[in-house]
């Protein structure tokens, strides 16, 4: 597996862009390499250990690599820990004779760190049960009253007054089929809710509201009817209510809570615009200002880099550039070949005949041969 294949495989696994994965891999192994080169013992869990033996002089020795075995692997032990976090033996009874004894699940969950969540769920269950009981009581008292109300109508079985229509009519709007039905219902609607029914509904809603307020205002003394779990969650509820209030009235917090890693929201500090970068002290709160400005810049750089990492710029379509480069290369090669193997240009100067000079030179050689031949 080459580097590129490793980048592609890891990017697919992580669901990250290949550019970001390549940046991570380069940064990680460059840092590991610098650690090894500086003589540190490098221990990468799951891969192995690189030890640099002590060397005499300035010549560093080659580090020794020891692959990590299953026994010494941190990753393996960590995986084993997570797998065996919920040991089945914990759910078994300590005393085998007391079979009917209940398993203390909350204590087990508390050991596992799940106590808070479970107690919160128990509080919600108790709250809903209490609300159901009050609703039932209120409904029962309303139904048992002599005067009919809208709740009576809703509880009594009604005769089947449904009028069946054909499929063609079903496709039409209701007002087209029964043009006067809507007006009749609109006129009859105020009569269906008589005063007693409205009063009963108000009673129920008030009872539920009071009960809900009572359950929310947990102060340790007014919650005997809920459960002991509620008492333990006193601080949790207070924090929850505080968070709700702050969430409603603090738009900054709302935006930052909603923001995700891909869609971040950065709130610019107020001091940055008032005191732009001048390089000198501009206010009595210079230290605070510089801190906030530097933090703002760091955050800005952080989020910009993060955005670029998650959304790397797309590669330019370099087909045209490649085509142009090929054409230019071909032209250059052609010029070079022409200069090497092409005919030399004939330069004609005034009064000089190049062909005549060549002929005269050959003629001179021939004549010289003829002249010296008899002597030899």
């Amino acid at each position: 597996m080459t580097r590129d294949e490793l980048v592609i495989a890891l990017a697919r696994r992580l669901g990250m862009p290949e550019h970001s994965t390549r940046v991570f891999l380069h940064a990680f192994f460059d840092e590991a390499k610098s650690a090894v080169r500086s003589g540190e013992t490098l221990k990468l869990s799951g891969l192995g250990v690189w030890e640099t033996p002590a060397s005499k002089g300035n010549n560093p020795k080659a580090p020794i690599f020891r692959p990590e075995t299953a026994e010494t692997s941190d990753a393996a032990s960590e995986t084993q820990f997570h797998r065996n976090m919920l040991v089945p033996s914990h759910l078994l009874l300590q005393n085998e004779t007391s079979v009917v004894e209940e398993v203390d699940v909350p204590s087990i969950l508390e050991e596992l760190g799940l106590r808070k969540r479970i107690s919160h769920v128990a509080f919600l269950d108790a709250l809903l049960d209490s609300m159901d009981k009050n609703m039932e009581t209120s409904l029962r008292s309303t139904v048992e009253s002599d005067s009919p109300s809208v709740l009576d109508h809703s509880l009594d079985p009604q005769p089947d007054t449904h009028t069946y229509i054909s499929t063609e009519e079903a496709s039409l709007p209701f007002d087209d089929i029964y043009p006067f039905e809507a007006h009749r219902e609109a006129e009859a609607e105020p009569d269906t809710l008589n005063d007693e029914g409205v009063a009963a509904q108000n009673d129920v809603s008030q009872t539920v509201d009071q009960e809900f307020d009572h359950m929310i205002e947990v102060d340790g003394t007014d919650c005997h009817d809920v459960s002991n779990e509620v008492l333990e969650e006193e601080s949790c509820i207070s924090e929850y209510v505080d968070e709700e209030d702050s969430f409603e009235h603090n738009p900054v917090m709302e935006r930052s809570d909603i923001a995700t890693s891909d869609d971040y929201v950065y709130e610019e500090p107020a001091n940055c615009e008032q005191y732009p970068e001048t390089g000198t002290a501009a206010s009595p709160d210079d230290a605070t200002l510089s801190d906030s400005t530097s933090a703002y810049r760091n955050d800005e750089v952080f989020y910009r880099n993060r955005d670029q990492l998650y959304h790397p710029p797309e590669k330019r379509r370099s087909k045209l550039l490649m085509l142009a480069a090929l054409v230019l290369t071909a032209i250059v090669i052609a010029i070079v070949f022409y200069m090497i193997y092409g005919e030399a240009p004939t330069r004609e100067f005034p009064g000089v005949d190049t062909q005549g000079r060549e002929i005269s030179a050959v003629h001179r050689i021939t004549c010289t041969t003829i002249v010296f031949h008899p002597l030899s």
Binding site: L6, A27, K33, A35, G46, P63, F65
Partner: protein, 76 residues
């Protein structure tokens, strides 16, 4: 002594990624490396070196840039 967390913390100062994200990346990297080695192929760890399995043993060949004098390292 530098372990995985140290390396990840060092690069977290340069990369705009949280340490948890980097740890997740590293865990996936180890999985990819082990799967590749199990399949009999070697793994080129960028400019750090190459891991390969020879005769059942895991060997590491350091990249040339791992040593200032260009000394190669093959150890197991």
């Amino acid at each position: 002594m530098a372990d995985t967390k140290d390396i990840l913390q060092r690069i977290s100062a340069r990369l705009p990624l949280e340490t948890e994200e980097l740890m997740r990346c590293y865990k996936e990297l180890t999985l990819v490396v082990h799967e590749t080695l199990a399949s009999g192929d070697h793994v080129e760890l960028m400019t750090f070196g190459t891991l390969r399995r020879r005769g059942g043993e895991l060997t590491f060949t350091g990249h040339a840039s791992l040593f200032p004098d260009g000394e190669a390292m093959i150890s197991s």
